[in-house]
């Protein structure tokens, strides 16, 4: 009987090692270890074995069963791993092929710049407001201390609809509308479209400006400098030098233009900055008393500053764009770069 068991063991182990697919292994298990399997069959003949030998044969049979089950299990894992490896092989892909894209659109570059500027000022406690693009001459000029025939009108070639109605040439009229409708303190910025009869590589008949206004009891020229320095460095980098240069605007006094050190040459002088080392980005100043008078604010009690900037100019500087018309052509190959 021992020999019989031994031969089953050998046969079965041989069988296991030659099986290569999962189904064959299962058949082999049933053949040897199943309820009607060879090992069971042999053990049914235990009756013929002497009582002394029975426990010995029994334990040998159990050992063989354990050994075979273990071998099958090992073989099973082996086959499974092998099958997996084969599957992987057949499922190979070329990872360098392009992905299937979920298309995602782009905001217009001018929207991106406006958003960035809004974020800075909202962080400083400013409210974002809008005003009409078709304006009254009064708000666009007169209330801003530019009466008819004022030479400053020459600086802004205006599109007129009638004698009284025009396309606003600046976002500054929003200042007047805000101050007319609320009392101080005021902290607003007003982005929007403005229009001037001018068209070339750096001028567009429609462009965007952002106006800012801060009015309060103790607002100083120093505050204007601090606010616009923070703004300039947030937009163009911490290392940018910021310079405030006296200038003239009819609705601010004192007035300043704000320059940043040239980002190309770092102030050494290059083509972009016309060899000056500086690039103008903003106009600003303390609100003129005449403007306060127009909106019935008491100049003796309050003060404030206003500023304005051209969005296209800032976008051109930031992105290195040299033709303003690209913004309005909307060539998708342009728009999709931002």
């Amino acid at each position: 009987m021992r020999e019989e068991l031994e031969s089953i063991r050998v046969q079965c182990l041989n069988g296991i090692s030659s099986v290569t697919i999962h189904d064959d292994l299962e058949k082999l298990r049933v053949k040897y270890l199943g309820k009607k399997g060879l090992l069971t069959k042999v053990l049914r003949g235990m009756g013929k074995v002497s009582p002394e030998e029975r426990p010995i044969i029994g334990s040998i049979a159990n050992e063989i069963r354990d050994e075979l089950e273990e071998a099958i299990k090992t073989r099973y894992s082996y086959i499974k791993e092998k099958e997996k490896a084969q599957r992987f092989e057949t499922e190979a892909i070329d990872v360098t092929m392009p992905g299937r894209r979920r298309s995602y659109g782009k905001k217009h570059p001018l929207t991106l710049i406006i958003d960035e500027i809004k974020e800075v000022f909202v962080g400083l406690g400013y409210e974002v407001v809008e005003g009409p693009e078709i304006e009254l001459d009064y708000y666009n000029f007169e209330a801003l201390n530019v009466p008819p025939d004022h030479p400053a009108r020459d600086l802004q070639d205006t599109f007129y609809i009638t004698d009284d109605f025009l396309l606003r040439t600046q976002t500054s009229p929003v200042q007047i509308r805000v101050m007319e409708s609320q009392s101080p303190p005021v902290k607003i910025i007003a982005p929007g479209k403005v229009y001037r009869c001018d068209s070339d590589v750096t001028h567009s008949p429609m462009f965007h400006q952002i106006e800012g206004l801060a009015i309060g009891e103790d607002i100083t020229f120093g505050d204007l400098k601090g606010t616009l320095t923070i703004f300039s460095q947030r937009l163009f980098g911490k290392d940018r030098g910021v310079r405030f240069r006296p200038h003239y605007f009819p609705f601010t006094e004192p007035s300043a233009e704000v320059d940043i050190s040239c980002m190309i040459c770092n102030g050494k002088g290059c083509r972009l900055c016309s060899n000056t080392g500086w690039i103008e980005i903003l106009g600003a100043g303390m609100v003129d008393p005449q403007v306060f008078k127009v909106v019935n604010y008491d100049y003796s009690k309050i003060g404030g500053f206003a500023f304005g900037m051209g969005v296209e100019r800032i976008a051109m500087l930031k992105y290195g764009i040299d033709d303003i018309r690209l913004f309005f052509e909307n060539d998708l190959r342009f728009l999709e770069q931002f």
Partner: protein, 806 residues
């Protein structure tokens, strides 16, 4: 304003280099546009004398000049200028010279003949604008001398941008005053001592001012026995560095004094004035004058003219007339120094399209006080340079002097506005250097009084004084601070929040944002085939458009987007999925009597393929439902649920593929496939889906309260239903009927298939819906569902007459 540093130094001493001076001027308010170094690059340019001229053997227009440049033997130079003659003293650029205009001089062969240099024009040398011929020098100059030394050319020109409030700085003395304020050094004004003749001016002429509003002051001098001729070299140089052309000594002097004092002057040929007298009046309507530039101008009654007894001889403050021009034969002049009303000069110059150095100054407002010093200075120079006898006295017609403005300045207030601690003494010294007179000041007092000098018409209030103090003190010395927080509550505008949100959603849907012009071509409305009475044709017109293409304010964004699609298609970009948020301009009445409505509008157009190009993706083109899907996503994200898409009849769309978008019963826009005729008009071959909605009505939904609903705990049962219905029955109607008759057990109904064609009768289509049933408190039994499902089927059959497929 071109300022010569050399000239400036005649009136004020300073130790600053031209570069430092430029920096200081920038930081006190006079922006430097350009720094021009005169004499730079002229090291190898020398004086030469043309000894002999021969014809060029191979070229008709060229000549061979034998030029003495101080060496033993003359050099040969090929030249093409028409004004060279034998004996001419000229500027010669020798090999090695690099001229300011960018030309490098080498020995070269010109048409086969050796040329050892170049004869130069003023423009090539960077010392003037003249380019017509080469520069002819005085015959006294010695060949071989360095040109820069010989002409004493070396100078720096600062081209300053003077702001319109500072006409006083449009003069060398004005800038000298600024430099004085910067450095503290005094200005040396020219000493004017004028020797007059015995003859009184009243015996020679008269001045009559008929409109003293337009001409507050008119002063004249008469100078006889003058000799008109070229100006001396120093005067020509001054005129040239200022950017003007030397003409003759009289004209050059008037220009020189204008540059020096900022007061425009004009000289008339006395003998060409009818009755030798001046009448200052308004022009008669349609009156004509030939101005100095050789153009005949037609005048109108709002313009001021200087006339003689008969006719206009100058357009006041703008330009003189050709008929009374000073020329070589002139022996007696009437010199004008006057003050004209700024706004009128500006209007006249604009109307005539004629801006001159004079009008640019007058239109900014000059003081009448400047008239006399300038006329005396010019008379002094004329007497010295052109000889002549200055008649006794000035014929001066003046409306009258205004007293100098007086202002009280509170130094505390100055510091409060600026955020500084500038001592009162410092403020007073700044103002004194700027020409302000300080009075009524006490040591213990914070306030003081100033008299504003006559040349500072721009200063009339305390704020103006604050600016003067700040700019001279130095903006850079003012400490940067932040406003003390005032605790203002900031509420974002819901309109803007909505716009931002719409942008974010749409770029998430794969659309690119465009920004196009607010003004469009009125022909766009014809391209859209809009009938004459269509509301979109009620547009606002721009009075002075740049071009026809940009002449009317848009009432719809669709044409702008179609243009973008067409432009991209033309450039080979065919898949165009774009949107724009912008205003449309809707007038209440035309012509405008109040501000129009600026309606925030969203437009989308889709064309080309559905998805991005891929190696295995389908190549389906976008259709109506692609765009409607985007609209559904947009509305879902904006919490807009109460809306309907209703078939419509808009001429701009495919008649069978279009709908109105109704939100809470209000029509807010449209969606559809663009009409093929319109697409053809834009040169587009592909279909374009388009949508336009007004954004304002969507704002209210932004605040909708969101309440959480518990997740379902019991299983759902899914049943399909397929019907064959008449094509005229809208899907929405079927779906509503299913939902209504199914009642509360229905969780969701959706259309998962439609079909028409083989096996479906003509005029009908098959629609398949899946219905999800669920009860929130228990598991539904088949029997319960069967009852509902049967009911749905019978309602559909009875009410819509459809066939339910089993």
């Amino acid at each position: 304003m071109r300022i010569s540093v050399k000239w400036l130094k005649e009136y004020i001493k300073f130790d600053l280099s031209p570069k430092e001076l430029g920096e200081r001027l920038i930081m006190t308010g006079s922006e430097v546009d350009e720094v021009i170094e005169i004499g730079e690059g002229l090291d190898n340019v020398v004086v030469g004398r043309v000894e002999e001229i021969k014809a060029h053997p191979n070229a008709d227009k060229l000549i061979l000049c034998s030029v003495n440049v101080g060496d033993e033997s003359p050099i040969q130079i090929v030249c093409g200028a028409p004004n060279v003659y034998e004996g001419a003293v000229v500027a010669v650029a020798l090999p090695g010279a690099k001229l300011p205009g960018g030309i490098s001089i080498k020995k070269a062969k010109v048409r086969g003949v050796e040329s050892a240099g170049m004869l130069c024009s003023m423009k090539e040398l960077g010392i003037g604008e003249e380019h017509g011929g080469i520069m002819i020098l005085s015959e006294q100059m010695r060949p071989g001398d360095n040109l820069v030394e010989a002409l004493n050319l070396r100078d720096t020109i600062l081209d300053l941008e003077i702001t319109p409030n500072r006409p006083d700085c449009l003069s060398v003395l004005g800038i000298a005053r600024e430099v004085s304020a910067i450095t503290g050094n005094p200005v040396q004004f020219p000493t004017v001592i004028l020797k007059e003749d015995q003859k009184r001016i009243e015996e020679l002429t008269s001045v009559e001012v008929l409109d003293d509003y337009l001409a507050p002051r008119y002063a004249a001098r008469v100078i006889k026995d003058i000799k008109v001729g070229p100006s001396p070299a120093w005067l020509q140089e001054r005129v040239r560095v200022a950017g003007m052309r030397p003409i003759n000594n009289i004209v050059d002097i008037t220009n020189f004094v204008m540059m020096e004092y900022g007061q425009p002057l004009h000289a008339f040929d006395y003998n060409k004035l009818s009755e030798n007298r001046i009448v200052v009046r308004r022009a008669n309507e349609g009156e004509k004058i030939l101005t100095l530039d050789g153009t005949e101008r037609t005048l109108s009654n709002d313009m001021l003219v200087i006339a003689d007894a008969e006719k206009p001889v100058a357009v006041g403050g703008v330009m003189g007339g050709a008929d009374s021009e000073v020329d070589a034969s002139t022996s007696c002049i009437l010199l004008e120094s006057a003050n004209f009303y700024a706004a009128s000069v500006r209007r006249t110059a604009r109307k005539l399209g004629l801006r001159t150095e004079a009008s640019a100054r007058f239109e900014k407002g000059l003081p009448s006080e400047l008239v006399i010093p300038a006329i005396d200075r010019a008379a002094q120079l004329i007497r010295k340079i052109a000889g002549g006898k200055v008649a006794k006295g000035i014929y001066d017609v003046w409306r009258g002097a205004e007293s100098l403005k007086e202002l009280e300045v509170n130094s505390n207030r100055v510091n409060k506005v600026l955020g500084t601690n500038i001592p009162k003494d410092k403020m007073m010294s700044i103002l004194t250097r700027l020409g302000f007179e300080i009075y009524d000041q006490a040591e213990c007092n914070q306030t003081f009084k100033v008299k504003v000098p006559y040349f500072r018409g721009d200063v009339s209030r305390e704020a103006d004084i604050i600016e003067e103090v700040a700019r001279i003190y130095g903006f850079d010395k003012i400490e940067a601070t932040l406003p003390r927080s005032e605790g203002v509550e900031v509420t974002p505008s819901m309109d803007l929040v909505l716009q931002d949100k719409v942008r974010t959603i749409l770029i998430g849907c794969g659309l690119d944002e465009t920004i196009t012009y607010s003004f469009i071509n009125p022909k766009a409305y014809d391209l859209l085939r809009l009938p004459a009475d269509d509301h979109r044709r009620r547009f606002i017109q721009i009075g002075n458009p740049l071009t026809e293409e940009q002449s009317v304010m848009r009432t719809t964004l669709i044409p702008s987007l179609l243009e973008v699609v067409a432009r991209n298609a033309h450039r080979g970009v065919e898949d165009c999925h774009i949107f724009e948020i912008g205003a449309t301009y809707i007038p209440e009445e035309l012509p405008l009597r109040e501000l129009p409505e600026e309606r925030r509008t969203l437009a989308i157009t889709l064309s080309g393929h559905r998805s991005e190009e891929s190696w295995d993706a389908g190549k389906e083109k976008v259709d109506f439902f692609e765009l409607k899907g985007i609209l559904e996503v947009l509305f879902e994200e904006l919490n807009v649920n109460d809306y309907e898409i209703v078939p419509s009849k808009d001429v701009i769309f495919h008649p069978m593929r279009q709908a109105s978008i109704i939100v809470q019963g209000k029509n807010i826009g449209f969606i559809g496939e663009m009409h093929p005729d319109i697409l053809e008009g834009y040169g587009l071959k592909d279909r374009v889906q388009a949508l336009e909605i007004e954004l304002k009505p969507l704002v209210d939904f932004m605040n909708r309260h969101i309440a959480y609903k518990g997740l379902p705990r019991y299983p759902a049962v899914l049943r399909d239903i397929a019907i064959i219905a008449d094509k005229s029955i809208l899907s929405r109607r079927i779906q509503e009927l299913i939902e209504k008759s199914g009642g509360s057990l229905i969780e969701k109904v959706h259309l998962f298939d439609t079909y028409s064609g083989a096996q479906i009768p003509e005029g009908k289509r098959s629609l398949a819906y899946s219905i999800i049933y669920r009860h929130k408190d228990r598991t539904l039994t088949d029997e319960e569902i069967n009852v509902v499902h049967e009911r749905i089927m019978s309602v559909l059959t009875e009410e819509l007459g459809v066939e339910v497929r089993k």
